[in-house]
Amino acid sequence: MSSVDVNHVSKSFGNRQAVTNVSFSVRGGEVLGLLGPNGSGKSTLMKTVVGIIKPDTGSISVLGTDVARDPVAIKRMIGYVPESPRLYEFLSGLEYLDFVSDVHGLAKGERQERIMEFLKALDLESRENELIHGYSQGMKQKLAITAALLHHPRVLILDEPLNALDPRSARIVKELLHKFRDNGVPTIFSTHVLEIADAICDRIIIMDGGHIIAEGTTQELKTKAGSSGSTLEEIFLKLTGTSDTRDIVEALGR
């Protein structure tokens, strides 16, 4: 049985169609990679799954609960990292994590233990009392990831979570994702780094112009693209019609 079901979802903003008739499902313990050029509709789609954007048509269910019917219950189950997360910059890192823990109703003992574990693992331990305003982009990203994982989420929605992370922290987050996968947690994961998608994701969806243009494992995508020896990057460029990069670079380099 699928853990996340997205059925015929469409969403437009004024005249711009962001997502058009998209359907897919994610099984428990599966990591689904969402790939696509900028503006292809990945973030909008992820926000509809989290329940912070209402689709114009279609339905979404997470672990059997309809997102439209009970968004609060969905948010309790989900761990979400948005693309370029804006945090409360006037709070210290610890105060922010305390805020998120309070909102999720995490008990005192458990909260203390988990926060300290995450801070240590992600190298935030000596900076936790500083205001977030003084954090680097990478530190803010680590804090957003910690906040998304603190409450033992049953589903992960991660919009470019490895952005701005240093190699060590990126490695830890990737390992964490594997651990969540082993525990049966379904994950929807978007990235522009195709090697990461290749390494982490069990299945990949490529979006362009709000549509799903390809879906499958890396091997299946290679077969569909008719180039079994190609890299994921070559497949991506071919499918999204952006493979003419050489001409563009030559023109810019003149």
Partner: protein, 538 residues
């Protein structure tokens, strides 16, 4: 300094300042054009001048002598007042600028020298605030022409332009200082630095308001010409002294003070350039709030009747109010309003005895109503683009409304008690009256909190610009008006009947009105916030 760099920079900075204040795209397009400023300044001078000339021509003859003297005093005061106003506006603008917009300033990585930047920015500030000089010159144009003081007006205009540059250079200096020195201070002092900044902001705003209250201005203007001569050693007065000595037909003094003013302007400019050179790129502020090992704060500051999530939102919003410099102005509102209303309208001294409760109630309720209304109606928009944290959190609209209302109720109640204490000391009302005022104040606090959250949800503005209102233009106009109406409606039984005859009946009626309004606004707020939380808007 390269004119090819300075001039485009000045134009870009002017557009940035003008458009930063405009929320409407149409207004931003029109008023963001620097050429419009020239037209508006000219129109302001011509229109005010014409009106002034017409009014002065129809004055009774016995007022002419006094008016002529006032006009000359005004012309002498224009340069000094222009400088003061620009410095105050500059400080206010600096205080209400979101911290993010400073460190991301484009000039930090463009090939622009400190002197290019300071000159460009000074020109831009002078240009943006030129409407102040235009306003003062327009006010005095008609009477000056009528009384044949055109030549003094011309001298005042010349020195006024110089004062514009003096004020702008001073603002540049303040900006450079606050960019770096303050950040070092906050980093070292943590919480106490935050508290010092908050207190300072509130004091600056209250002083600003008091300086420009009618009574104080009238008194300052009246004494300026006498004062100006005795404070020749204060450089900021030199432009006015140049006009004063010129009007007195002194031979060398106007030239001397004119040259001193010019020298002062260059000195300030040089100092601002020096400070910019020393403190060029703003260093990101890393304020540490302590070094104690982490202790989970679960259960601390829990408010009875509210759960952990609601309490967490209240704590977060309180920190937002006290730690964000652009939010401190909202905490200054009650002090500013109370001070300016009481200073302007309350008859201090022996005549206060006849000033009964009906006179006191509006002075007591209006600051409470507006403070709570503004605090509450900005409570959602102030989340800015971090609002996704609430959208993604497992909390429903009811919790958001009760948390947002609770903070306003807590702060509003504290202010109400403080103001009531001041009222008790000033007017010495009886025990019954004091208790009635307390109940009335607290009712208004709760009503405004609920009404404010409704307005906040209905007209949110999440943009983080200079002087963000956190509520749309319609909301910012509607909220306080509704707030004052609601407060006066609740106080109507006391205002109409008089407390001495029907103390308990009027109190009972007020409570009935209050509870009814609270119930209505609470429902409206929940409905509005539910609708808002359906879909993220940023």
């Amino acid at each position: 300094m390269k004119p090819n760099t300075v001039w485009p920079l000045a134009i870009v900075l002017t557009k940035s300042q003008l458009r930063g204040y405009q929320r409407s795209k149409l207004l931003a397009k029109w008023f963001g054009n620097p050429n419009i400023i020239v037209i508006l300044d000219t129109l302001l001078i011509v229109i005010l001048g014409t009106i002034g000339y017409y009014l002065i021509s129809n004055l009774p003859p016995d007022l002419m002598v006094v008016t002529e003297r006032l006009v000359v005093e005004g012309l002498i005061g224009i340069p000094t007042i222009t400088t003061f106003m620009i410095i105050l506006f500059g400080i206010l603008s600096e205080l209400s600028q979101p911290i993010q917009s400073i460190s991301s300033d484009l000039v930090n990585w463009l090939p622009i020298t400190p002197s290019d930047y300071v000159l460009g920015s000074t020109l831009s500030l002078s240009y943006t605030y030129s409407f102040l000089l235009a306003f003062f010159l327009g006010l005095t144009l008609g009477p000056a022409v009528y009384f044949g003081n055109g030549i003094i007006l011309a001298a005042s205009a010349v020195m006024g332009v110089m004062s514009l540059f003096i004020g702008s250079s001073a603002v540049e200096l303040i900006r450079a200082v606050t960019n770096r020195i303050s950040s070092s201070f906050y980093r070292k002092s943590g919480r106490s630095g935050i508290f010092a900044r908050l207190s300072l902001t509130i004091i600056v705003l209250v002083v600003f308001q008091l300086i420009f209250s009618g009574r104080v201005i009238a008194s300052v203007l009246g004494r300026l010409t006498q004062t100006v001569a005795t404070v020749w050693y204060v450089p900021i007065m030199w432009p006015s002294l140049a006009v004063q000595t010129f009007s007195a037909a002194a031979n060398l003094a106007p030239l001397g003070f004119g040259l001193l003013s010019l020298g002062f302007m260059f000195a300030l400019f040089g100092l601002a350039v020096g400070m910019r050179r020393a403190y060029w790129v703003p260093v990101p502020v890393s304020i540490s709030l302590g070094t104690q090992p982490y202790q989970a704060s679960f259960g601390t500051f829990r408010i009875p009747g509210l759960d952990a999530a609601e309490s967490a939102i209240i704590r977060k919003d309180f920190r937002s109010l006290t730690r964000r410099r652009e939010m401190a102005r909202f905490l200054a509102i009650p002090f500013v309003l109370a001070a300016s209303l009481w200073v302007s309208l309350y008859p201090f001294g022996s005549s206060s005895e006849g000033f009964g409760l009906t006179g006191i109630i509006p002075l007591y309720l209006i600051p409470i109503a507006i403070f709570c209304e503004v605090l509450s109606m900005t409570s959602i928009g102030q989340e800015g683009s971090a609002i996704w944290n609430l959208y993604a959190a497992p909390i429903d609209a009811g919790k958001v409304v009760s948390a947002k209302m609770s903070l306003t109720i807590i702060l509003g109640s504290v202010f109400t008690c403080g103001l009531l204490l001041a009222v008790a000391l000033l007017s010495k009302p009886g025990t019954g009256e004091t208790l009635s005022l307390l109940v009335l104040g607290l009712l208004v606090v709760i009503e405004e909190s609920a009404l404010g959250v409704y307005v906040a949800g209905r007209f949110p503005d999440f943009r983080e610009t200079v002087r963000s209102r956190y509520v749309s233009l319609s909301g910012s106009m509607l909220g306080p008006v509704l707030g004052v109406i609601v407060a006066l409606l609740t106080a109507a039984p006391m205002l109409l009947n008089g407390i001495f005859q029907t103390v308990f009946s009027s109190l009972l009626l007020e409570m009935m009105i209050g509870f009814l309004l609270i119930a209505v606004f609470w429902r409206l707020a929940i409905r509005q916030v539910s609708s808002l939380l359906t879909e993220i808007r940023v």
